[in-house]
Assembly symmetry: C2
Homo-oligomer: 228 residues x 2
């Protein structure tokens, strides 16, 4: 193993993200609780999000628009527009959530940065991610920030070319099997999976994955046992 | 002058953008013409967009959300939610607009690329810009694509560092004095301004600018007279 550069996912790897989205979704469902049970609203919202994913990509603005569209749909075009205003307010709150680091992140980055080049590799909305990075005060540990629209093998190939290393010199760390692990193993790099307690339904991956280039870890400090 | 790398803005420099936004805005105003004259609705919308700029950044999703918020506001929270649905449809159409290249772009890029490294430097929504770049088929001319949340002097400095050149080796080409010219002159690089017939109100810059590092051009082919 000759890893030179470690890329880390951000949302739910370095800082808390999905619980904030789920809390917002819960408040959204509560707005409509007289019309439909919460789990059905959630299922409709996920359907709308998936339909819009190609148009909107990942991020809070797309989530807001999908909530508004779901509101329209499940009320049969009869919702009071005041509910739309409430959804916009929920979105604004979500955008302005404080950034809460996951335990062990700062210490781990500091130690890893002494031996490796660290890169932040995240998908989603550029402005959201820049805002969170700034609030996290973690920027100083990274030699490069890559915000991708999608975590595809091709986008990881481009990142590795850009870093002027080979796939075998690259390790990706993240919580999503779908986004952080599978595309990286596909290009013959290394991947470390650190599950987060809460995963977005769309990103859930049921099958247990086995691969010689895959580390399965429990928490971010476990990286140190393997790499330092 | 020792320019090595030329960065080009995308929207309204390489392809048509603002006219599509303005056509959408016109349709939005038409939805509400019984409530308020068109120019007043436009003024309200711009106010909402400016208020939300820090939260949303640039791009179509933010524009959609600002239209919805304006709809709510100018109808005094009384709009039929069917109008919200219409705004969402307008936004989806805008996202899926075909990409129309500005005259002379392909030929100019081909000729410049023989002597210079070309970079695409655009602000806005990552996914929107990737989609347009793909549809434009211009990707092959660029050694690097930079989508910035904001075109600040600091973000241009980062880009130049990343390209491993000096400010004096860098020329930025674009239609917006505010975004493409002023921050670039500030860091002692070169800038070429090619005005576009239609400019977003927010980006209008009334004062005539004079600077030894500034080229004032009429069309993109004029770059060839100065640089080839």
């Amino acid at each position: 193993m000759n890893i030179e550069t470690i890329a880390l996912d951000a949302d739910d790897t370095l800082w808390v993200n999905e619980p904030y989205f789920q809390a917002t979704e819960k408040e959204f469902c509560a707005l409509l609780k007289d019309i439909m049970p919460e789990d059905k609203i959630s299922a409709e919202l996920l359907k709308t999000e998936m339909k819009n994913l190609e148009l909107y990509g990942y991020g809070i603005k797309g989530f807001m628009l999908s909530m508004i569209e779901t509101l329209y749909k499940i009320t049969d075009a009869k919702a009071d527009i005041k509910l739309v205003r409430k959804v916009i307010d929920l979105g604004h709150d979500l955008i302005q959530q404080p950034v809460e680091l996951i335990e062990g992140v700062e210490d781990t980055l500091e130690k890893l940065s002494k031996k490796y080049k660290l890169v932040l590799a995240t998908k989603g909305d550029l402005l959201d991610q820049e805002r969170k990075l700034k609030a996290s005060k973690l920027g100083k540990w990274f030699v490069h920030i890559e915000v991708m629209s999608h975590k595809t093998p091709d986008n990881f190939r481009k990142l590795i070319r850009h870093l002027e290393i080979l796939p075998k010199n690259f390790l990706m760390v993240g919580n999503s099997i779908q986004s952080d692990i599978i595309p990286v193993l596909e290009i013959n790099s290394y991947a470390a999976h650190i599950p987060y307690s809460i995963t977005w339904n769309h990103e859930k991956h049921e099958k247990e994955l086995e691969h010689p280039n895959l580390f399965k870890l429990e928490k971010i400090e476990d990286l140190l046992n393997h790499l330092i």
